[in-house]
Symmetry: D2
Subunit: 431 residues, 4 copies
């Protein structure tokens, strides 16, 4: 398997940038100091914030029209893990990986060993009942018309068992949570009974929940549409919340930032789920139209900041919930490793900016209904260019000041492009 | 006060149309009979379905840009009630009126007497804390920055008391429910703490709920935006549901069809609220962009049908909930009386079409995942031209076969235009 | 190749339904007669209205998440044409097929012969530069980063030549138009220079236009997003119009009903393109969220009617333009043959309803600003249940009164399921 | 009339902040210097960029539900101009005012004299045919059913004459452009003939254009919806472009950032209008849902930056067009003076960030399809905290480093609140 990134490459790269970084860090430190903020405290908090990468994110994504693979696509979970390790080597923000079963099915002992070797751990497990798995003998029935909400009890049962198998793999590798996203729904009014479909879903989810280990959590993930184009069983946070309440104390809601109706205020949904103690975690990404799965913060960085503003504001209440932070993106036109590196940076950027908000002042202005100053106080946090803090945190953790530059210098993509022959086929013809 | 519609006018109008109606009713009856449906049963159910008109709906509405009043605008609640009576005289579908306090404040005994004289009753009461009421000595504080969720406890208290006063008026006139819609929210990120605002709202709503008579219900009404343009405290059905659960068994959710994000599947929200036993009622209208408050069924009649499909499908579960059916529209370019007459007809049309769906066949196709035939079976109900059923139901109840035609013949608008001098001012300058 | 539908099957099926049809047709005729409309005239116009089916529509579609194939999927263009013939045999509304190159590449003489045998013709040709074609030696360069707007002139040249090849195939089989839809755009702000990309596109389109036969037209098709998720080169009708003007008199705009922003008034776009003499044609389908490609009229039948209202209203101006009417749908959960049969019916339904609008009355109410009666007059057309007209037109043209029923009785799907072994693979893993 | 802001107040305020500003400016200068950018050049360009304030923006706005006035609302155009002068005194970015007729009707000589005294000029004039003007004897006919597109030629003529009167006032005070925004449209399908309404509009606009002075321009402003809720005559940039082409070389398109469908890529519209030489100007504001008219940059600052990225990118082509930059906002919950001060700052912020983009590098990455680095290069401009540049530009032009702070210290609002008694009425009852 391809060597990762030489320590030497990182060090040489850092040498180039370190002087400027120290100057910028000092200048920012001085500005923050004038506001009574110790820059090192912020850096420490940022360094402690990590986010999981999705195993499926290191391959090139696509649309129903086409997929245009890049060079050196990982051919299996072990190559995927290697790519994940590269991301973490450089960015030092992504020590865990989220697996997708059956895509990543392998001997759990091998998975653990490989992860340990690479310095990685495992975050929430993902089951897959939105596709058929003709090669998986445990899933002979088709999910064409649904899985956990299917009208046929046998299909529901198969889907339940697949989820439980996913849990058992997860248990063996140290995961503590299962994310359930289903594509179940309908394409035409009348195709499905909206009420009964939900009740079948709840029944199946209860079966899965019963089978969870004592220290596990289950996340229900809502999505407005796609692959179903008229109704989706778990279409919004309201339904996800109903589900989590019905399933009980192990069940929580997972918020994918791209799964909402146009114009929806997502940070308020986060706030409501914190209020109701049901926020389970995030799938970070960005989008302009639908579930575009673009790199987090690339389309609307202020919106990402507003989500982190809610998280920082929640303080101890959030700590009690301990949500899982995960990335879920589709990298169609970039090197997936590069996109994931910068995404982790963007997420930390939003967190750092949220930490820099003067919360006492903010609350004061809110209490007085000084809308302008409250708004300006919040934006003041966002306006800080916190790159020096992020870079310093990476540097001190052994990563790269400019991880994309270091990655490109390393020649990793070229190496794996040789090692991993391109798979044929650019998708297709699904229009 | 203006005479209503002469019996004679209605009778003469009906004479014109009756022969054709009988022919059409017979032809439709024959078609339904071939499908095993007795047209008279459908007519009976339709005749039993009524919807309340909003007192504020009989005046001409407007936008922030302008209001263009029509002739004969009612100048107070008693003239409004007179207009409501005209609507019911002709359409025989709207025997109840929903009042708005303080707009419609009057001696309850007078209100009762007038309603009785007109053959009307009262549906849910509406409070108003989205405007300031400089003439109402009980509401000296401003709602500019919120009401039930205001940061200032005194404003919240004032808003609570106003709601309780609204209940007490309602109690005196025979209403059994309070609809609470607030405009509370914020225009800028940071202006309001999203979590604390919701908690203040819940606290105030609990106060109101405590003050409800034993046989009353309280409806929380969600809305995505407007008048607040960044966040709204009760922004969607999820928050409305959280509210209703926290308030307990007297609290339910009211669905205004125009209060959702673009593309949202509203009939599924109705289904979820039926599932969770929290559907309290409807504000019917139609919209293309935002909360356009257009005449129900004028923009997307199939969507209105799909809502009624859920209601008919729910059967006994719906009966147990007994939701309130109310219209909430803004009539900017039509004679409000005409718009309300046709709206009541549209609502009954959707109901009649939903009743004509072959539910046994539909369920069979759903169970077999025969998406095409399920979809066609549902649409078959929608495709029926049920106007003969609606007209016959009106006729038999003493109304007009063609109520708009009869209304125009009656000269009512001309009469009230003379009696009620135009109020000056076309709104304005709020841009 | 599978036998099509026995005449006998159709006749037997029609026997079942004919009596009821005659009764319904007579009853509707009587109602229309009372309004001064001769039902046979409407039937004749409806019978004359046809719409092309897309060759790719007879296979099962899918999403980026999965494709769930049905039985008897056509394995090539000749089997696709056979399926198209079945659709036309039963529905008698779809005598032409729209091809997609290179998917449907074959010897033009064979294509012509097969079409002639099946009683089919060919409508607009479609080129494909939104996918790579590793098997097509004429297209070795990748379209990952665009085609007609690519930064590399060699890729643009390849795409131009592919379009010209598509034209030359079309010419040989009797087509008269080329539809150009490209996926070109970008996923991230900055990725592409929005202005220069458009200018490159215009340059390439001019090359293609130069190569068109004298009696051909070229259609530019706009789409808001997907596969590009930040910017799309031809993102809306404004850009499509700019393109058509710049390309000159052979160039027109094609409107796919699913390619617009949420809430957009599509019928007004149709009106504007008629005004500016640039309406080239349609891709019919329906959608609730994005480019969902659902069966036309299945989500919002009134919207489809409003499009046809513009077409009927335009009268002679439309005739001068002679737009192409084509279906473009993705059939993910239905038998594609069934979906296309009913879609053609839905399109004719909307046309028939639009024909039934009392246009003199409508214009009168419009001129008087009688918003309510104008709106009611338009809706009166929509409310007619015109199924008897559609069925009679089919019957008289040799088709089936109930074409779905006849199709199911025929056993065609079962026969082709045996003849055409299932292709393996359910898509996948593109997330 | 209220004294404006004492020089002394500004100076004292600046004393407080100047030391920190110099440090921040130096630190940023050093960072830019490392990238080969001279900070003083950027500052000079920023100082040269100005934006007009709308006369109507200094009053408190509202919604159809209510208007909550603030203290010291200006009671006429001369008090409005005074407020505008205060905005410019402090921010030094808004030396021109855009008037609205008939709201701001006054003797042109007085307007000129007052503006000269205040150091202000006049940008584009705005006509008003979206309201009735019962007090304006030149506009006796109602615009309830339209103005420039009305079915009645007399109403169209009145609207044309009103526009020409607006031009003649503008001419007398030194304006050079007329912005035409109409609310014309319809609320129900069928109410208006979409094609004929547009043709009537074009006819009327031609009349106005004929009456323009030689050196004037006319701007057509599109808007998706509101006040019309089904169709709007000039609904998008496509229709605005058709209009501008038909009107000829004096006609251009004005882009209000809040007038588009959800999710629309606005910067691409700007790019297309630059390409076609028809970009006439902007109405800056921000929005989350509809035409929310919030402070520019308050909801999505990155989007504002992307608009400026197009402007900077266009370079000489933009200079040739010389668009008008104007603010159009509704200040419902803030002091309008404060909102306009910060808005001007936000607009300059976006401009400064766009100037800091490394365009040579950006183009290189674009040409190589290096999506990630192109995107990062663009965002690098956005990430700069350019506040020191903005503040320095203000300071050197005689304004305030922190203009909101200086304004609050000045006591201006308190003074005008005493001088200008509150107007009664909080709007209302238009629901």
């Amino acid at each position: 398997m391809a060597a990762r990134i030489d320590r030497d490459v990182i060090d040489k790269s850092n040498e180039q940038f370190q002087e400027a970084l120290e100057a910028d860090y000092a200048a920012l430190g001085a500005r923050l100091d004038r506001r009574g903020i110790a820059i090192d405290d912020i850096k420490r908090k940022v360094a402690g914030f990590t986010v999981a990468v999705p195993s499926w994110g290191v391959g090139t994504g696509g649309t129903r029209f086409a997929r245009f693979p890049g060079g050196g696509e990982p051919r299996g979970i072990f190559e995927k893990l290697n790519d994940c390790a590269v991301i973490n080597d450089l960015g030092r923000a992504t020590p865990a990986v989220s697996l997708h079963i059956p895509w990543d099915k392998a001997d759990p002992a091998d998975l653990r060993a490989k992860a340990e070797e690479l310095g990685l751990g495992f975050d929430a497990m993902n089951s897959n009942t939105f596709q058929d798995h003709p090669d998986d003998p445990s899933q002979p029935l088709s999910y064409k018309y649904g899985s956990l909400s299917h009208t046929d009890a046998a299909v529901r049962q198969q889907a339940v068992e697949h989820n439980l198998e996913t849990v058992s793999i997860g248990e063996a590798i140290g995961s503590k949570a299962l994310t359930v996203w289903i594509g179940d729904g309908s394409n035409f009014p009348g195709q499905s009974d909206l009420g009964r479909a939900f009740e079948r879903y709840l029944g199946a989810m209860k079966e899965i929940t019963k089978g969870l280990p004592a220290d596990w959590r289950i996340f229900s993930e809502h999505k407005m549409y796609e692959p179903a184009f008229y109704s989706t069983v778990v279409q919004d946070w309201g339904t996800s919340y109903l589900t989590a309440v019905e399933l009980g104390e192990k069940a929580f809601c997972l918020v994918d930032l791209g799964h909402h109706a146009p114009n929806v205020n997502m940070e308020q949904i986060v706030s409501r789920l914190i209020h109701s103690r049901k926020l389970g975690g995030f799938h970070f990404n960005d989008s302009k139209y639908g579930d575009d799965d673009l790199d987090a913060g690339s389309i609307d960085p202020f919106r990402l900041f507003l989500v982190f503003n809610e998280l920082v504001e929640a303080g101890a209440r959030l700590d009690a919930l301990g949500p899982s932070y995960m990335i879920d993106q589709s990298h169609n036109v970039t090197d997936p490793i590069e996109s994931l590196i910068r995404t982790a940076g963007e997420i930390r950027r939003a967190y750092a900016q949220a930490l820099l908000v003067d919360r006492a002042a903010l609350r004061g202005f809110q209490d007085e209904n000084d809308a302008l100053m409250a708004s300006e106080t919040l934006k003041a946090g966002f306006r800080f260019d916190v790159e020096p803090i992020l870079a310093k945190a990476r540097l001190e953790a052994g990563g790269a000041i400019d991880p994309i530059a270091a990655y490109r210098t390393s020649g990793y993509r070229q190496r794996v492009s040789q090692e991993r022959p391109a798979s044929r086929g650019s998708g297709g013809g699904i229009v």
